[in-house]
Symmetry: D2
Subunit: 310 residues, 4 copies
C-alpha cells in the first residue's frame, strides 16, 4: 500500500448512544459528502467566532414558519450574528409570533380550497390563520404612527423591534443586542403592504438606497469578516455586494446552507469559488457549502457549535 | 379492457424530421411528466393571451447573462408581457449589453483565482469582464444627473430605459411599449450601488414603498390576470402579494418554470395550489408548474407560442 | 474594450415564429447554462453519429410511462442506438403497451387510496390500470414456455421482443434492428416476477453474470464509442464499467440528461470529469451534461438531430 | 384568537449547549419542513422496532465511500436491520475497507486527469486508489474458488461475508447476525466483474431470479413490516415489489431519505402515497420522506434512535 498517499483517510462515523450534538459532529468530521461538509461548517463557524470576525447572517426561506425563530433569536443574543440580512417574510412571521400568533403543523397534501375557505394560508406543511395578519396590521399601524421622519430600512426594522416585548423575537433580540437588521426587499412583504397602506394618508419616507451606507461601512470597518447564508436570495447578494464595494478583497469565512445547485446560474446556488472570481470571498478563505434543508442543518450545527463554545 | 376508463391516454410523442417548435410541443402534449407540463404551459400562455389577460412576468435568475435577453425583449415588443417584475441583476446585465458590453461562454470548471486576477467575473459557465461595470457606472452617473426629483422604482427603471438606444434592450423595449418594470430589490444590484454612490453627494429620492400603489392598481383594474414566473424569488412574491391586496380572488392563469421544489418551504418552489390557499391564484385558474431550467423551457415555449399566435 | 478577450460571446437566442426544432437549437447554441448545454448535446450526438461511433444508450426513469416510447423505438429503427441498457420497468411498460394496454394522464394530487380501490397504479401524474399486468403475465407465461435452455438476460429480452408484433415497441424494434437490450436488474421488475413465478414449476436458467461478456466485447471491438445516459441508475454504471474493463481508455463521446447533481455522491449525478478519473471517459472526449427532465430534453434534442441528419 | 384551531402549534426548536442527539431531535419535533420530518422519521423507526416489525433496509448511493460503513454495520449488529438490499458498489467499497484499503477525503474540484494519471478514482469529494481493486480481485478469486455449486445472490454475498474477518464490515456483520444481503444488480459492480472473469474458466452459476423466493418469503411471513430507504434505486423497488407480490397490502412503516423529488417520475423520488396506490404501503402506515443527504440525516437519526432505545 502506498504509504505516502497525501490525503486524509475517510474515518467512518461511529454512533454512541447518548452522544452529544458536538460528539456527533466530530464523528461525522472524518466523512465525505454532506457529513464532512456539515462538520466543516461547524469548524468554520467556530474559527469565525474565535477570530473575532464580524458575522453577517443571510436568512431567507420559510425559516420562521418552520420553527427556527428561537434558534435565530438565541444566535443573536449569544453573539453568533452581528449583522442580519433577511426577507420581509421572516420578519412578518416573527412579528406574528411576537404578538401571540402561531404557526401550525399541517400537511402539504391538504385541500387548499378548503384551507382557503377556512382562511388558513399554507406554506408547504405549515399553516397560518389569516386572522393573524389583522392583529399584525393593527400593531404595525400603531408603530407607524410614531414614525414621523425619514428612515432607513434598518431603522424601520429597529422601530418594529422596539415595539415588541417578546424576548424570543428575532426583531426584539436584534434591538437588544444592537444587531442591525437589513431587509432590502421590505416592500415585498405584508409589513411592506402595511407601510404602504399607512402612507396613503400619512407621511413616511424610507429610501431604498440609504441602507447601503450602513452595511458597506460595517463591512469596511471590520477587521475580519464572515458570512453565513441560509437559502440564498436577496440576503446573499446584498451581503456579498457590500463586500465587493468595500474593496477588502472578500470574506475571510463563508458558510452557506442551500438546496440550490450552481448549474441553474442563480446566485442562491452559486459556489464560494464563483464568489472568489468577483472578490466577494478571499482566495484563502475558509469556505464551505452544505447542500441541505436548513431546518435540519442549522439546529445540528448550532447545537454542536454552542456546545463547543459555551 | 375497461372501456369507460375516465382518463386521457398517454399519446407517445413522435418526432418528424423538420418539425416546427409548435409541432414538437403538440407531439409532447399527450405525454406525462415534464413533456406534458411544458405543453400545458404553452396552452395556458395561449389562453392567457386569447383571453386578453394582463400578463405579469416575474424574471429572476441569471437569464440575461445566459442569453435570454433577446427573447424577453421580443416578448415585450410582441405583447407577451404587460408588467415586468425582475431583479436588479437582470437589469444590470441588460444595461451592460445595451452599452456594447458582452457576456462570454466559459467553463464552470475555470480557475476562479486566475479569473479574478484577470478581472473576469464568473456566473456558472458565463464570464463577464469587470471593465463593463466601469462603462456602466459612467452611463448611470449621466442618467442620474438628470434625476432631480422623487422617483418610484418603476420610474427609475424607466429613466434608465430611456437612456438606452439599443432596441434589443429589455429596459428600452419596456419604455417603448409602456410596460412598467418593477424591481423591489433594486438596491441589491450594481445599479443600486451606482445610485447610492451618486446619492453621497447629490439629491435623489426613491421611496421603497411607493411602487406598491402602481402594481396593485394594475392588478385591481385588470379584467383578467395571468402570471408567468421564471425562477421565483422576490419577483414571484411581489406579483402574488399585489394580487392578494387587490382582493380579486387570485390570478386566472399561472405558469411557473422553476428548478426549486415545494418541500424546502421557500416561495420559489411553492405550488399554485399552495397559492390558492392564500387567494393568490383562483380555484378554477389554469395553472401549471414546469420543473426545468428556464433557459431550455422558455425558448421552446416561446417558439411554439409565437408560431401559434403570429 | 479588450478586443483579444479569448472567449466566445454569448449570442442571445432569437425566436422566429415557425422555426424548426433545429433552428431553435441553433438559436440556443450561443447561450450559457442549460440552453447552451442542450445545443452542445445535439452537436455531440451528431458528431457521434458522423464518426461512426458505437452508441450505448442508458435508459432509466419512467420514460415509457411518460410517453417517450415512440421516440426511443424510432431511435433504434433510425440508427441512433446500437446498444440499449435499461431498467426492467421500462421493458414492462413497453410490453404493456405492445399488448394493447395504455398509460393514462392523471394528476399527482389524486387520492391514492381511491386509486388503489379502483386498482389504478400511479407514477407521479401517469396512471396505469392494474389489469394490464394480468394481460402481461399471460403473455409472459406463453413466452417463457418456449424457453427451455440457458439464457443470458440479453437473449431473454430478445425472446420477449420476438413475441411482440407492435412495430412501435422498443423490445420489437431492438430485435428487428439487431440492437441488444441489456437489463442487469431484470429481476427487479414485474417481468422478473413473472419469470420467477414460472420458475417455481419449470426449468429456466438465466445467469446473472453472463451478459458481461457480450457488452464488454461490443465495447472492446468498437472503433469509436459514445454513450447517451437518460437518468442514470444501473444502466449508467453498467455501460461505464464495461468501458472500464475493456481497457480502451474511456468513451469518445458522452451525453447525460439528468436531474441529479454530483454533490450527493450517487453515480446518477456524477460528472463526465469524475468518469475521466476512472478512465471511463477519455480526456479529449466530447462530453456534456444537461440538467433537465429527459421528457423535455430528449424530444427537443431528437427533433433537432433528426432534422440535421435525415 | 380561535382557540379550537384543530392543528398542533409549531414549537420553535431551542438549542441547549451540550444537548444529546435525541434531545436535539425532540427539540426539532415541533417544527415543520425537514426538521419536523427527520423527527417523525426517528419516531417511525422507534415504532417499527417497538412493534417487532421486520425491517427492510434499502441502501444505495455512495454511502460506504462517504463514511457510513460503521453506522450500517452497527445497525445490523444492534438489530436495526433485518434484511439488507443494496447495490454492488456499496459491497465493493465495504470489501475494500475490510481488506485494509481506505477511501480518502479529497476535493470535488481536483483535476481528474491528474487523478487518472496517479490511478486515483474520484467519487465527488472521496478518492479511492485504483490499487485497492487489485487487492480485492485477488481476495475475490480466492473466495470464488470455493464456490463450486449453484448460488443465489444472497448466498453469494454471504460467502463474501464469511471470508472477511473485520467485524466492522457490513458483509461480515450480516453473516454474523443472519441478516440476508440481497443485491439484484450484483453484475453491475466490480464484484460482478470479478465473478465474470472467474467464470471465463471456471464453473459458477448464479441465477438472476432465484433470490425472489427468499425475499418474498421473508415479506410474506413477517407479522409486521417496515422499510427504510436511503437514496432509492434498485434496492427501493426490489423491496417494494416483494411486498406487492406477497399480497399483504403494503408495509406498515415506511421511511425514505432521498434527494430526489417525485416530479421526475423516477421511483427514487416517489412518495409513500404513490406507493399506496400500488398496495406497496398500507393506507394506515406510518410513512415519512426526509429530503436530505443521507450522510447528514442517517447519523443524526441513528444517534437519536439508539439513545432512545439502548
Amino acid at each position: 500500500m502506498n504509504t505516502d498517499f497525501p490525503f486524509q483517510k475517510i474515518e467512518h462515523a461511529r454512533i454512541t448512544p447518548g452522544m452529544s450534538a458536538d460528539e456527533l459532529i466530530n464523528a461525522m468530521s472524518g466523512c465525505g459528502l454532506g457529513a464532512g461538509r456539515i462538520a466543516d461548517a461547524v469548524d468554520t463557524y467556530e474559527a469565525m467566532v474565535d477570530d473575532g470576525a464580524t458575522k453577517f447572517f443571510g436568512l431567507s426561506g420559510a425559516m420562521v414558519p418552520a420553527g427556527m425563530r428561537q434558534i435565530v433569536s438565541d444566535m443573536i443574543r449569544n453573539g453568533y450574528i452581528d449583522v442580519l440580512v433577511t426577507t420581509g417574510a421572516n420578519l412578518v412571521h416573527d412579528l406574528i409570533e411576537s404578538l401571540g400568533g402561531h404557526h401550525y403543523k399541517g400537511s402539504e397534501k391538504a385541500d387548499d380550497i378548503k384551507l382557503r375557505d377556512r382562511q388558513i394560508n399554507r406554506i408547504f406543511d405549515v399553516f397560518l390563520p389569516e386572522e393573524h395578519f389583522t392583529v399584525m396590521e393593527e400593531h404595525m399601524l400603531a408603530v407607524l404612527e410614531k414614525m414621523d421622519r425619514k428612515f432607513t430600512i434598518r431603522e424601520f426594522t429597529a422601530e418594529i423591534g422596539k415595539s415588541i416585548e417578546d424576548p424570543n423575537s428575532i426583531l426584539r433580540s436584534a434591538v437588544d443586542c444592537d444587531v442591525p437588521i437589513f431587509c432590502p426587499a421590505i416592500s415585498d412583504s405584508i409589513i411592506g403592504l402595511n407601510a404602504w397602506l399607512y402612507k396613503q394618508t400619512q407621511n413616511l419616507s424610507v429610501d431604498v438606497f440609504d441602507d447601503l451606507s450602513d452595511i458597506i461601512d460595517i463591512c469596511y470597518n471590520a477587521r475580519k469578516t464572515g458570512v453565513i447564508i441560509l437559502g440564498g436570495g436577496v440576503p446573499k447578494n446584498f451581503i456579498l455586494q457590500s463586500m465587493l464595494v468595500s474593496m477588502k478583497g472578500g470574506f475571510d469565512y463563508f458558510i452557506q446552507i442551500t438546496t440550490d445547485r450552481p448549474d441553474s446560474g442563480g446566485l442562491s446556488g452559486a459556489t464560494p469559488d464563483e464568489a472568489k472570481s468577483w472578490t466577494k470571498v478571499k482566495e484563502e478563505a475558509k469556505a464551505v457549502t452544505v447542500y441541505a434543508d436548513a431546518t435540519i442543518a442549522l439546529p445540528l450545527m448550532m447545537a454542536a457549535l454552542r456546545e463547543r463554545l459555551e
